[in-house]
């Protein structure tokens, strides 16, 4: 039945989106598609897999939804009664089939700014990507009960506060599109930068982030920030296989085996980068940085001047202290480690970094490269005391040992 899993995964998002448009209610849509899948599991092995699997699922799901609405409509006071009248008017004669706009509608609704950011991510993974609550719980390192409750609350808010299932009107798009892109990027980063959890689910999130970014590009072809996001995730993801070693420690960029970087993803990322020219959001400069690394023949041959410029641009778009700290490292390679250290001093006291070890890690790295090993040891220890993933701590432990220190 593995082949059916693939079909279900592919058809889930479009079918739920189509049913949601038709019924105006996400829960009805989700339940109906679930029932249609259950029916397919019975019917397809018996009768053969239909030619148009998506059409089959949507038709069956619509009929199940209609059955349910008819049942609910004779039980006054039930929650669903409110939507029944709307549907009745159109349901019996209107045909429903998935159209591409349905998915875009669903992306905007799941990423609505009146929902908590974690809820946006969970809803996107559930309704668009078709992950189960258990899978989302594993991905977000939360309990199944907590994720289930979060999704239910979000769907209740969409229904009762009447968050519209639509692509926002033109005047709202400039403020809403960044939320959709940010939600897609968080699908990717939860997989790519995630600090724990089984690697299978992390791989799935990376793949899904790349897929959704591509979807956003085809659904909003004129949206250059979507192209920039797609470029960024492809270029970052090209290094997925080399960024963690067999022992689970992070491998820094300068030690990664560039021969194992995914050339196909790099090429696709560079294509996207061309289309992203003129994008104004935070993804373009990050994609440029990723592209400069991806196309450098070695760490030594990297174009640090161009990378520093991209960081300058990134800081103009988002005043992020983490970006400033990383920029200091790039300056260290462009102008020498002393220059890097003084650039780092400018951001070291930023209160937003009070709970982060990013400055200590970068300071230790610059000191080590400058040959100031005793000071490097001190800062590696400080970095290890700060927050950090097991992968990152493993890496710091190794560096500390290389400098002759121990933790």
């Amino acid at each position: 039945m593995t082949n059916l899993d693939g079909v279900f995964r592919r058809e889930w998002g479009p079918a739920v989106a189509a049913l949601a448009r038709w019924s105006g209610d996400i829960t009805i849509a989700e339940d109906a598609v679930q029932e249609a899948f259950a029916e397919a599991l019975q019917a397809w092995p018996r009768d053969g897999v239909p030619h148009n699997t998506g059409g089959w699922i949507v038709t069956v799901a619509r009929n199940r939804a209609l059955d349910r609405l008819r049942r609910e409509s004779v039980r006054p006071g039930k929650e669903l009664a409110a939507v029944v009248d709307d549907i009745r008017a159109s349901a019996d004669h209107a045909d429903v089939h998935p159209v591409r706009d349905d998915e875009l509608r669903m992306m905007f609704t799941c990423a609505h700014p009146a929902l908590d950011p974690t809820s946006r991510l969970a809803l996107t993974l559930r309704l668009i990507s078709g992950l189960t609550v258990a899978e989302i719980a594993r991905a977000l390192l939360q309990s199944e009960a907590a994720v289930g409750q979060r999704i239910t609350r979000a769907k209740n808010k969409i229904r009762h506060a009447n968050i519209p299932l639509r692509v926002p009107p033109a005047e709202l798009l400039p403020e809403r599109t960044p939320h959709v892109l940010a939600c897609i990027y968080s699908v990717f980063t939860e997989g790519y930068f995630s600090t724990a959890g089984p690697s299978a689910i992390r791989d799935e999130l990376c793949d899904e982030g790349v897929r959704l970014a591509g979807e956003a590009c085809s659904l909003m072809p004129d949206e250059r920030d979507a192209q920039a996001l797609a470029a960024l995730v492809l270029l970052q993801d090209s290094r997925r296989e080399t960024r963690v070693d067999d022992c689970g420690a992070l491998v820094p960029l300068d030690e990664q085996d560039r021969g194992r970087w995914d050339r196909g993803r790099i090429a696709r990322g560079l294509d996207r980068l061309q289309l992203a020219a003129g994008a104004t959001g935070p993804y373009l400069p990050q994609a440029v940085i990723a592209a400069l690394h991806a196309t450098a023949t070695s760490w030594q041959q990297t174009d640090w001047a161009a990378i520093c410029m991209a960081y300058d641009r990134l800081i103009e778009v988002v005043d992020s202290p983490v970006a400033r700290a990383n920029r200091a490292l790039a300056i260290g390679f462009r102008d020498g480690f002393a220059a890097g250290l003084s650039a780092l001093d400018e951001v070291a006291d930023d209160p937003r970094l009070a709970r982060s070890n990013v400055v200590a890690s970068i300071r230790a790295d610059l000191l080590r490269r400058a040959g100031r090993r005793d000071e490097a040891v001190e800062w590696y220890r400080i970095a290890m005391d700060g927050n950090g993933s097991d992968q990152a701590r493993e890496f710091l432990r190794r560096r500390l040992a290389e400098c002759g220190g121990a933790y």
Partner: protein, 233 residues
């Protein structure tokens, strides 16, 4: 559908500067002109020092005079909007002057009974509940609550003048505008505190009578605040 907008913010501790007050009033009038087609009701509340809180429910009401020291953020006004969806309600909320220095909570109403006569300077009874007590429409607890409110209506309905029940706090959205940027938060403004659950307008001659009627309302806490009657809505 109808949305209830609750305006929250720090309460001025001294009499406002006349120029600042005039500018504030002008900002509200501009908002009323812009949002006229969507505003169904709205007004400023008199200072919380003149308000009353009633806890303990109709059987054992405890009455406390304002101000209510425990909260820095005080309700300063309200609106009822009629809007097709949350996007429209949020677009209205961000234009409310209070969103720039305080916050506006947008609550979907379960049902809204418009006042049958002008509310003028009558009283707003704001029903407050701990978030854990919030129940969803359609549940047995909700039905029990409806029955209690029907009982209240039978006893005091002639002295109420419209009101609404609100959906649970998970459906609320908080709107703030800072440096021209709109900041939305999922849920009520102050987490963990007692939150709005419904309201009545109480139309009586004096404060004692208003306290008497509000004491009969089935709610964990009732905050009773007189309307300023300045909005002209």
């Amino acid at each position: 559908m109808h949305y209830f907008a609750l305006l929250l913010g720090p309460e001025p501790t001294s009499a406002p500067d006349p120029d600042a007050h005039a500018a504030e009033m002008a900002a509200y009038q501009a908002f009323h002109a812009k949002a006229a087609s969507a505003i169904r009701a709205g007004d400023a509340l008199t200072p919380s020092a003149t308000g009353v809180r009633i806890t303990g429910g109709p059987d054992a009401p405890t009455i406390t005079d304002g101000p209510f020291a425990e909260s820095a953020e005080v309700a300063g006004g309200y609106y009822v909007f009629e809007a097709d969806n949350l996007d429209e309600a949020l677009a209205l909320a961000r234009d409310i002057p209070a969103a720039k220095y305080g916050a506006v909570e947008i609550w979907p109403t379960v049902f809204y009974t418009p006042p049958s006569q002008p509310v003028g300077t009558s009283w707003l009874a704001l029903l407050l509940e701990p978030p854990a007590n919030a129940v969803a429409p359609g549940t047995p607890e909700w039905e029990a609550g409806i029955a209690a409110h029907q009982k209240f209506g039978a006893a005091a309905g002639d002295r109420t003048n419209g009101g609404a029940a609100l959906h649970p706090p998970a459906t609320a959205t908080t709107v703030r505008v800072r440096d021209g940027e709109v900041l939305l938060t999922d849920g009520p403004y102050v987490e963990g505190a007692e939150v709005a659950n419904g309201f009545y307008f109480i139309d009586v001659a004096d404060r004692d009578e208003a306290v008497k009627v509000a004491s009969m309302i089935p709610a964990t806490t009732v905050e009773l605040r007189q309307l300023m009657g300045v909005s002209g809505l």
